[in-house]
Amino acid sequence: MVTEKQLLDPHHWVKAHADYLYSYTLSRLNDEEQAKDLVQETFLAALEKVDRFEGKSSERTWLTAILKNKIIDVYRKKSSGLANIAEQKAEEEQKDFFEEDNGHWTQAHQPLPFGIEDHEPLRGKEFNHILQLCMQKLPAMWMSVFTMKHMDEATTEFICSELRVTQANFWVIIHRAKLSLRACLQKNWI
Protein backbone atom coordinates (compact mmCIF):
# COMPACT_ATOMS: atom_id res chain seq x y z
CA MET A 1 0.00 0.00 0.00
CA VAL A 2 1.31 3.39 -0.93
CA THR A 3 0.35 6.23 1.35
CA GLU A 4 1.01 9.58 -0.10
CA LYS A 5 2.55 12.09 2.23
CA GLN A 6 0.29 15.11 2.47
CA LEU A 7 1.75 18.51 1.78
CA LEU A 8 0.81 22.00 2.91
CA ASP A 9 0.29 24.85 0.52
CA PRO A 10 -0.40 28.07 2.43
CA HIS A 11 -0.69 30.03 -0.83
CA HIS A 12 -4.00 28.29 -1.47
CA TRP A 13 -5.31 27.95 2.04
CA VAL A 14 -7.92 30.65 1.89
CA LYS A 15 -9.25 29.59 -1.48
CA ALA A 16 -9.32 25.93 -0.56
CA HIS A 17 -10.47 25.94 3.05
CA ALA A 18 -11.70 29.31 4.31
CA ASP A 19 -15.37 28.74 3.47
CA TYR A 20 -15.31 25.27 4.94
CA LEU A 21 -13.69 26.42 8.19
CA TYR A 22 -16.09 29.33 8.36
CA SER A 23 -19.19 27.18 8.07
CA TYR A 24 -17.69 24.64 10.47
CA THR A 25 -17.33 27.39 13.04
CA LEU A 26 -20.69 28.98 12.36
CA SER A 27 -22.51 25.72 12.87
CA ARG A 28 -20.90 25.45 16.29
CA LEU A 29 -20.84 29.04 17.49
CA ASN A 30 -23.43 30.89 15.44
CA ASP A 31 -21.65 34.23 15.53
CA GLU A 32 -20.44 35.54 12.18
CA GLU A 33 -17.88 38.01 13.47
CA GLN A 34 -16.43 35.52 15.88
CA ALA A 35 -16.34 32.88 13.17
CA LYS A 36 -14.37 35.18 10.88
CA ASP A 37 -11.91 35.91 13.67
CA LEU A 38 -11.42 32.24 14.40
CA VAL A 39 -10.81 31.38 10.75
CA GLN A 40 -8.17 34.07 10.60
CA GLU A 41 -6.59 32.99 13.86
CA THR A 42 -6.54 29.40 12.67
CA PHE A 43 -4.57 30.22 9.52
CA LEU A 44 -2.12 32.39 11.42
CA ALA A 45 -1.60 29.77 14.10
CA ALA A 46 -1.20 27.14 11.40
CA LEU A 47 1.55 29.15 9.71
CA GLU A 48 3.55 29.01 12.90
CA LYS A 49 3.14 25.26 13.10
CA VAL A 50 3.90 24.44 9.48
CA ASP A 51 7.22 22.85 10.47
CA ARG A 52 5.47 20.44 12.76
CA PHE A 53 3.02 19.15 10.14
CA GLU A 54 3.86 15.50 9.63
CA GLY A 55 1.82 14.86 6.54
CA LYS A 56 -0.19 12.12 8.14
CA SER A 57 -3.53 13.84 7.68
CA SER A 58 -4.89 16.01 4.93
CA GLU A 59 -4.33 19.73 5.02
CA ARG A 60 -7.98 20.32 5.79
CA THR A 61 -8.09 17.83 8.66
CA TRP A 62 -5.00 19.43 10.13
CA LEU A 63 -6.42 22.95 9.90
CA THR A 64 -9.73 21.78 11.34
CA ALA A 65 -7.97 20.30 14.35
CA ILE A 66 -6.37 23.67 15.07
CA LEU A 67 -9.73 25.36 14.66
CA LYS A 68 -11.42 22.86 17.00
CA ASN A 69 -9.08 23.84 19.82
CA LYS A 70 -9.89 27.47 19.24
CA ILE A 71 -13.61 26.77 19.38
CA ILE A 72 -13.17 24.93 22.68
CA ASP A 73 -11.31 27.96 24.03
CA VAL A 74 -14.32 30.07 23.17
CA TYR A 75 -16.67 27.59 24.86
CA ARG A 76 -14.52 27.70 27.94
CA LYS A 77 -14.47 31.49 28.08
CA LYS A 78 -18.18 31.75 27.44
CA SER A 79 -18.98 29.27 30.17
CA SER A 80 -17.06 30.99 32.91
CA GLY A 81 -17.74 34.05 35.01
CA LEU A 82 -20.79 36.09 34.15
CA ALA A 83 -22.25 33.37 31.98
CA ASN A 84 -23.20 31.50 35.13
CA ILE A 85 -26.10 33.87 35.61
CA ALA A 86 -27.76 32.47 32.49
CA GLU A 87 -27.22 29.01 33.86
CA GLN A 88 -28.79 29.88 37.18
CA LYS A 89 -31.78 31.35 35.42
CA ALA A 90 -32.26 28.25 33.30
CA GLU A 91 -31.93 26.04 36.37
CA GLU A 92 -34.53 28.14 38.12
CA GLU A 93 -36.96 27.60 35.24
CA GLN A 94 -36.56 23.86 35.52
CA LYS A 95 -37.58 23.81 39.14
CA ASP A 96 -41.19 23.92 37.96
CA PHE A 97 -40.78 20.95 35.63
CA PHE A 98 -41.09 18.36 38.40
CA GLU A 99 -42.97 18.22 41.69
CA GLU A 100 -40.58 19.00 44.46
CA ASP A 101 -41.57 16.21 46.81
CA ASN A 102 -41.91 13.22 44.48
CA GLY A 103 -40.20 14.14 41.21
CA HIS A 104 -43.31 13.67 39.03
CA TRP A 105 -43.81 15.88 35.99
CA THR A 106 -45.90 18.88 36.93
CA GLN A 107 -49.17 19.30 35.06
CA ALA A 108 -47.98 22.49 33.37
CA HIS A 109 -44.76 20.98 32.05
CA GLN A 110 -45.53 17.37 31.29
CA PRO A 111 -44.47 16.23 27.82
CA LEU A 112 -47.09 16.55 25.10
CA PRO A 113 -46.84 14.95 21.67
CA PHE A 114 -45.13 17.06 19.00
CA GLY A 115 -47.03 15.14 16.36
CA ILE A 116 -43.82 13.91 14.76
CA GLU A 117 -43.00 11.01 17.05
CA ASP A 118 -44.39 8.23 14.94
CA HIS A 119 -43.05 8.99 11.52
CA GLU A 120 -39.73 9.66 9.97
CA PRO A 121 -38.46 12.77 11.73
CA LEU A 122 -39.82 15.77 10.01
CA ARG A 123 -37.07 17.66 8.34
CA GLY A 124 -39.22 20.70 7.79
CA LYS A 125 -37.48 24.03 7.70
CA GLU A 126 -39.85 25.43 10.26
CA PHE A 127 -39.11 22.82 12.88
CA ASN A 128 -35.38 23.14 12.27
CA HIS A 129 -35.64 26.87 12.68
CA ILE A 130 -37.32 26.51 16.06
CA LEU A 131 -34.79 23.90 17.07
CA GLN A 132 -32.01 26.30 16.24
CA LEU A 133 -33.58 29.12 18.22
CA CYS A 134 -34.09 26.84 21.18
CA MET A 135 -30.47 25.73 21.08
CA GLN A 136 -29.28 29.30 21.05
CA LYS A 137 -31.26 29.93 24.19
CA LEU A 138 -29.32 27.33 26.14
CA PRO A 139 -26.75 28.69 28.58
CA ALA A 140 -23.27 28.67 27.04
CA MET A 141 -21.97 25.82 29.18
CA TRP A 142 -24.92 23.57 28.37
CA MET A 143 -24.68 24.42 24.69
CA SER A 144 -20.95 23.67 24.70
CA VAL A 145 -21.32 20.28 26.36
CA PHE A 146 -24.31 19.41 24.19
CA THR A 147 -22.56 20.39 20.97
CA MET A 148 -19.34 18.60 21.77
CA LYS A 149 -21.22 15.45 22.65
CA HIS A 150 -23.73 15.33 19.85
CA MET A 151 -21.96 17.05 17.04
CA ASP A 152 -18.37 16.06 17.50
CA GLU A 153 -19.10 12.86 19.38
CA ALA A 154 -16.33 13.70 21.78
CA THR A 155 -15.77 11.31 24.65
CA THR A 156 -17.18 12.23 28.02
CA GLU A 157 -13.66 12.28 29.50
CA PHE A 158 -12.47 14.69 26.83
CA ILE A 159 -15.39 17.07 27.35
CA CYS A 160 -14.97 17.02 31.12
CA SER A 161 -11.28 17.81 30.96
CA GLU A 162 -11.56 20.45 28.22
CA LEU A 163 -14.46 22.32 29.81
CA ARG A 164 -13.33 21.56 33.33
CA VAL A 165 -16.49 19.96 34.61
CA THR A 166 -16.73 16.90 36.83
CA GLN A 167 -18.34 13.69 35.54
CA ALA A 168 -21.25 14.18 37.91
CA ASN A 169 -21.75 17.68 36.65
CA PHE A 170 -21.50 16.48 33.06
CA TRP A 171 -24.57 14.27 33.49
CA VAL A 172 -26.47 17.05 35.22
CA ILE A 173 -25.71 19.35 32.28
CA ILE A 174 -26.62 16.76 29.63
CA HIS A 175 -29.91 16.17 31.43
CA ARG A 176 -30.70 19.85 31.96
CA ALA A 177 -29.81 20.82 28.42
CA LYS A 178 -32.22 18.25 27.01
CA LEU A 179 -35.00 19.16 29.44
CA SER A 180 -34.70 22.80 28.41
CA LEU A 181 -34.47 22.05 24.72
CA ARG A 182 -37.49 19.75 24.79
CA ALA A 183 -39.55 22.21 26.81
CA CYS A 184 -38.65 25.02 24.43
CA LEU A 185 -39.69 22.93 21.43
CA GLN A 186 -42.97 22.04 23.09
CA LYS A 187 -43.67 25.67 23.88
CA ASN A 188 -42.87 26.98 20.42
CA TRP A 189 -43.89 24.16 18.10
CA ILE A 190 -47.24 22.84 19.29
Partner: protein
Protein backbone atom coordinates in the same frame (compact mmCIF):
# COMPACT_ATOMS: atom_id res chain seq x y z
CA UNK B 1 -38.39 5.63 50.55
CA UNK B 2 -35.78 3.12 49.38
CA UNK B 3 -33.62 4.09 46.41
CA UNK B 4 -35.23 1.62 44.03
CA UNK B 5 -38.68 3.06 44.62
CA UNK B 6 -37.18 6.49 44.21
CA UNK B 7 -36.44 5.96 40.53
CA UNK B 8 -39.45 3.87 39.82
CA UNK B 9 -41.76 6.67 40.85
CA UNK B 10 -39.55 9.63 40.04
CA UNK B 11 -39.72 11.17 36.55
CA UNK B 12 -36.81 13.52 37.19
CA UNK B 13 -34.52 10.57 37.92
CA UNK B 14 -35.99 8.55 35.07
CA UNK B 15 -35.35 11.29 32.51
CA UNK B 16 -31.75 11.52 33.73
CA UNK B 17 -31.36 7.79 33.08
CA UNK B 18 -32.94 8.23 29.65
CA UNK B 19 -30.25 10.79 28.80
CA UNK B 20 -27.49 8.63 30.24
CA UNK B 21 -28.64 5.61 28.26
CA UNK B 22 -28.15 7.47 25.00
CA UNK B 23 -24.51 8.09 25.83
CA UNK B 24 -23.30 5.15 27.85
CA UNK B 25 -24.47 1.71 28.93
CA UNK B 26 -26.60 1.77 32.05
CA UNK B 27 -25.70 -0.42 34.99
CA UNK B 28 -27.87 -3.50 35.47
CA UNK B 29 -29.71 -1.84 38.32
CA UNK B 30 -30.26 1.41 36.45
CA UNK B 31 -31.58 -0.38 33.45
CA UNK B 32 -34.10 -2.40 35.51
CA UNK B 33 -35.23 0.72 37.30
CA UNK B 34 -35.75 2.60 34.09
CA UNK B 35 -37.58 -0.26 32.45
CA UNK B 36 -40.01 -0.49 35.34
CA UNK B 37 -40.53 3.25 35.33
CA UNK B 38 -41.18 3.39 31.59
CA UNK B 39 -43.63 0.49 31.78
CA UNK B 40 -45.83 2.57 34.03
CA UNK B 41 -45.22 6.16 32.93
CA UNK B 42 -46.60 7.27 29.58
CA UNK B 43 -45.16 10.76 30.00
CA UNK B 44 -41.60 9.54 30.32
CA UNK B 45 -42.21 7.13 27.48
CA UNK B 46 -43.09 10.11 25.34
CA UNK B 47 -40.09 12.02 26.69
CA UNK B 48 -37.86 9.10 25.75
CA UNK B 49 -39.12 9.14 22.17
CA UNK B 50 -38.82 12.89 21.86
CA UNK B 51 -35.37 12.95 23.37
CA UNK B 52 -34.11 10.50 20.76
CA UNK B 53 -35.79 12.42 17.96
CA UNK B 54 -34.21 15.65 19.17
CA UNK B 55 -30.76 14.04 19.06
CA UNK B 56 -31.35 12.87 15.51
CA UNK B 57 -32.60 16.26 14.43
CA UNK B 58 -29.74 18.11 16.08
CA UNK B 59 -27.29 15.88 14.28
CA UNK B 60 -29.12 16.45 11.01
CA UNK B 61 -29.15 20.18 11.62
CA UNK B 62 -25.40 20.31 12.23
CA UNK B 63 -24.83 18.20 9.17
CA UNK B 64 -27.03 20.45 7.02
CA UNK B 65 -25.27 23.55 8.27
CA UNK B 66 -21.92 22.11 7.33
CA UNK B 67 -23.18 21.31 3.86
CA UNK B 68 -24.39 24.83 3.29
CA UNK B 69 -20.89 25.98 2.53
CA UNK B 70 -21.94 27.81 -0.59
CA UNK B 71 -24.62 29.87 1.13
CA UNK B 72 -22.45 30.58 4.14
CA UNK B 73 -19.34 31.57 2.26
CA UNK B 74 -17.12 34.42 3.38
CA UNK B 75 -17.08 37.60 1.38
CA UNK B 76 -14.35 37.92 -1.22
CA UNK B 77 -12.76 41.02 0.29
CA UNK B 78 -12.28 39.32 3.60
CA UNK B 79 -10.76 36.33 1.86
CA UNK B 80 -8.41 38.43 -0.21
CA UNK B 81 -7.17 40.33 2.82
CA UNK B 82 -6.72 37.10 4.67
CA UNK B 83 -4.66 35.50 1.89
CA UNK B 84 -2.60 38.72 1.61
CA UNK B 85 -1.90 38.53 5.29
CA UNK B 86 -0.80 34.92 4.97
CA UNK B 87 1.50 35.86 2.07
CA UNK B 88 2.90 38.66 4.23
CA UNK B 89 3.67 36.23 7.00
CA UNK B 90 5.27 33.82 4.56
CA UNK B 91 7.57 36.52 3.20
CA UNK B 92 8.76 37.63 6.59
Amino acid sequence: MNPLKKVIYNCKQATLLIEKRQIRKLSFRESIELRIHLAGCSMCKLYNKQSQIINQMVLQLFHDTELQVSTLSLDENFKKELQDRIEGELNK
